[in-house]
Symmetry: C2
Subunit: 339 residues, 2 copies
C-alpha cells in the first residue's frame, strides 16, 4: 500500500478537480491510500464516504501569484501545501502531490521536507513533449538558477536512475542543452559540464541544440534552471501559439471548415502528441521524499495522472537508490547554499 | 547610390543562389551597387554582363562547420568573407551581406571591421517570428555569452534607434526576456538589467516570458546571447517540428488528403506567418559598419531580402545616430574584452 499526501487546495481548479482526480486515482489503484489536506468542511461536502481516503483540515491556502514563497511558507504553517509536505517529512505519507504555485512547492520541498543528504540542489524535472516514444525528461527547468557543473552531473545521475527504474529505459541517452553540438560550444559552464558528464557513469551523448528538443533521441536533457525554464516555456508557448493560430486560420473560411471535417481525426492525432495531461506533472528531484508538482491548470485527468506518477516513483524506490549512489560518490565541492 | 559587399561563397547554396539573389536585388533597386567577393572564374561564368556589379577574386572560403573561426580568419586573409568585410573597413563598401557561418561573421566583424567606438559588445539581432504586424527584434541571440547589464542597455538603445528609423515604429516597446514577469524574477543579471532598463530613455515594458514571444506586443526583446540563442532555436525548432508533424499526420489517410484540398489556402496562410524568407537576415549591431548575416540556407529570395535589409540600414544612417548617442552616454564600466 502506498500512502500519498494531496494538497487539495492548490491549482487553478482546486479543490473540485483535485478531488475528482484523486477519486479517479483511488478507483484505479487498489493499493493506494490518500490524505487530502484542505478546508475540511468544504471537502467533506464534496466527497462521498470513500475507503482509503482521509481528510485533514488545513485552513489556509497560497494564491497562485504568491510573490514571496519563503515568507508565505514561514508564516502559513497551516497552509494545505505546507501541511501536506510536512506529512512527508514526518513519514506519515510516502509522497506528496500538489498543483499549487511552483516556487512555493520548491521552497516547501527545501524547508519542510529537506534535501536528500549529499544532494546539492533540487531540480524540477518535467517530461517535455517529444516525438520520441515515451517522451524526454528535462532538468532543471526552474528550481535553481545558480549552478555548478557538479550539481548538474548529480541531476543527470538522478534522472538516469529514474529513467531506468520508472520508465524502463535500458540505457538512457543523456544530453546537455547547449547552443551548438561541438564540445567547445557554450559558456564556461557548459564546457565544464560537458567534460564532467563524459567522465560520469552515464550514456552521455553530447550536446543537444534547442532546435532538436522535439525530434531528438534524447531520454534525458540536463541544463541549469534558468536555461531550462526558458527552453521549456519557449517550447510550450510556441506549440500553443501555433495551434491557436492554426485553429483560427482553419475557421476563417468555408473551405477550412469543410476541410476540418475531413481531417478531424488527423488533427486530433496531432493534438495528442502535445497533450501534457498524460504526463501529469514534474518530479522534484533531490528532495528527501517524493514530490510531484502537477500543472497549475490540472483538471481531473491530469491530476489523477500526477498521483499515479507519484505512486510509481514511490514503488520504484528511486530515493533509496540515489541515497546509495550519493554515499558512494560524494561531491567534494564547497557548498554554497542557495536557501 | 549604396554600395554593398557580397560574400558570394558563403551559405549552403553558394554561389548559385547568392548570385541569383544579388541579381534580383540589383534589378529591384536602381540606386544599389554591389561588389561580389568569390571565385572570380566561377562567378564570371555565371553572371551576364551586369551594370552596377563588380567581381573581386577571393580564392578561399570557410566551411559551414568551421570549428575555430578566429584561427580560420587569421589564416585566410583571402577568404571571400574576410575580403568582403575588409571592404567595409576600408570604406570601399558601405555594408556587407554574408550567408556564411555565423561565428565566422561575428569574429570577422570584430577583427576585420571592429566595434563602434564606445559600444561594448556586438549583438546578433534577427527579427523573430511574431503574430504582431512587423515582427519583433530579439538581441543578442548568439554573438556574446559573457554580458553585463550595461551592455544589454546599449543593445536596447541600438535596437530602439533601429526600430524607429528603419521599421518606422514610433515608440518601440522594449522587453527583457525572463523566467517570470515580476521585476524580482531571474538571476542577478536579469534583476540588474531590469533596473537599468527602467532608467534608460526607452519605452521599457518589463519582463517577457518565453511563452509569450510569439504573441506579445513587443517590438524589441533583449537578453544575453546564450539565453537568446536558446530561445530562438527552441522557437524555430518547435515551429518546424510541429509543421513537419502536421504535414505527416495530414497525409496519413484519405480524409486528411481530401481535407487538405479544402483548407489548402488556410494552411498556406498559416505557413506564411512563419516564413523567415521575408526578413532575409539578422543585423550585427555594435559593429563600425553595416553587417547583415543571412540564413545559411538562404536561396534567391531570402538572400535578395537580406541585401535589401542591408541597404535600408545604410540608408537609415543608424550608425551615425548610435555614434552620437554613445558619445553622449558613455558606459563607465571597466571593459573586459571577450575577444
Amino acid at each position: 500500500m502506498v500512502k500519498l499526501a494531496i494538497d487539495a487546495m492548490g491549482g487553478d481548479y482546486a479543490p473540485e478537480e483535485i478531488v475528482k482526480g484523486t477519486l479517479k486515482a483511488l478507483h484505479e489503484q487498489e493499493d493506494l491510500e490518500v490524505v487530502l489536506f484542505g478546508n475540511e468542511e468544504k471537502l467533506r461536502g464534496m466527497i462521498p464516504d470513500t475507503p482509503r481516503l482521509q481528510i485533514v483540515n488545513a485552513p489556509q491556502t497560497f494564491s497562485m501569484g504568491e510573490e514571496n514563497p519563503i515568507r508565505a511558507i514561514r508564516s502559513n504553517k497551516e497552509a494545505s501545501m505546507v501541511m501536506a509536505f510536512q506529512s512527508v517529512k514526518d513519514k506519515t505519507c510516502q509522497g506528496v502531490v500538489t498543483a499549487g504555485p511552483t516556487q512555493c512547492a520548491i521552497v516547501c520541498a527545501h524547508f519542510v521536507v529537506g534535501r536528500l543528504k549529499g544532494m546539492k540542489r533540487v531540480a524540477l524535472c518535467p517530461q517535455i513533449p517529444s516525438f520520441k516514444e515515451g517522451g524526454c525528461l528535462m532538468l532543471d527547468v526552474g528550481a535553481n538558477t545558480d549552478m555548478k557543473p557538479e550539481y548538474l552531473v548529480q541531476y543527470a545521475l538522478y534522472a538516469d536512475a529514474y529513467a531506468r527504474k520508472i520508465k524502463g529505459i535500458k540505457n538512457p541517452k543523456v544530453y546537455l542543452l547547449n547552443i551548438g553540438v561541438e564540445p567547445h560550444k557554450g559558456r564556461d559552464f557548459e564546457r565544464s559540464c560537458y567534460q564532467q558528464l563524459t567522465q560520469a557513469p552515464l550514456n552521455f551523448c553530447g550536446n543537444i541544440e534547442p532546435s532538436s528538443l522535439l525530434t531528438s533521441d534524447a531520454d534525458i536533457v540536463v541544463t541549469d534552471g534558468f536555461t531550462g525554464n526558458v527552453a521549456m516555456k519557449t517550447l510550450e508557448g510556441t506549440a500553443k501559439a501555433i495551434s491557436d493560430a492554426l485553429k483560427k486560420d482553419i475557421a476563417s473560411n468555408l473551405g477550412g471548415k469543410i476541410g476540418y471535417l475531413f481531417m478531424k481525426k488527423n488533427l486530433r492525432q496531432f493534438k495528442n502528441r502535445f497533450n501534457t495531461e498524460q504526463v501529469g506533472g514534474a518530479i522534484l528531484f533531490g528532495v528527501d521524499g517524493v514530490v510531484v508538482k502537477a500543472h497549475g491548470n490540472s483538471k481531473e485527468n491530469a491530476f489523477c495522472n500526477a498521483i499515479l506518477l507519484a505512486k510509481r516513483v514511490v514503488d520504484g524506490n528511486i530515493l533509496e537508490q540515489m541515497r546509495t549512489y550519493i554515499e558512494e560518490n560524494p561531491i567534494a565541492v564547497e557548498e554554497q547554499s542557495n536557501e
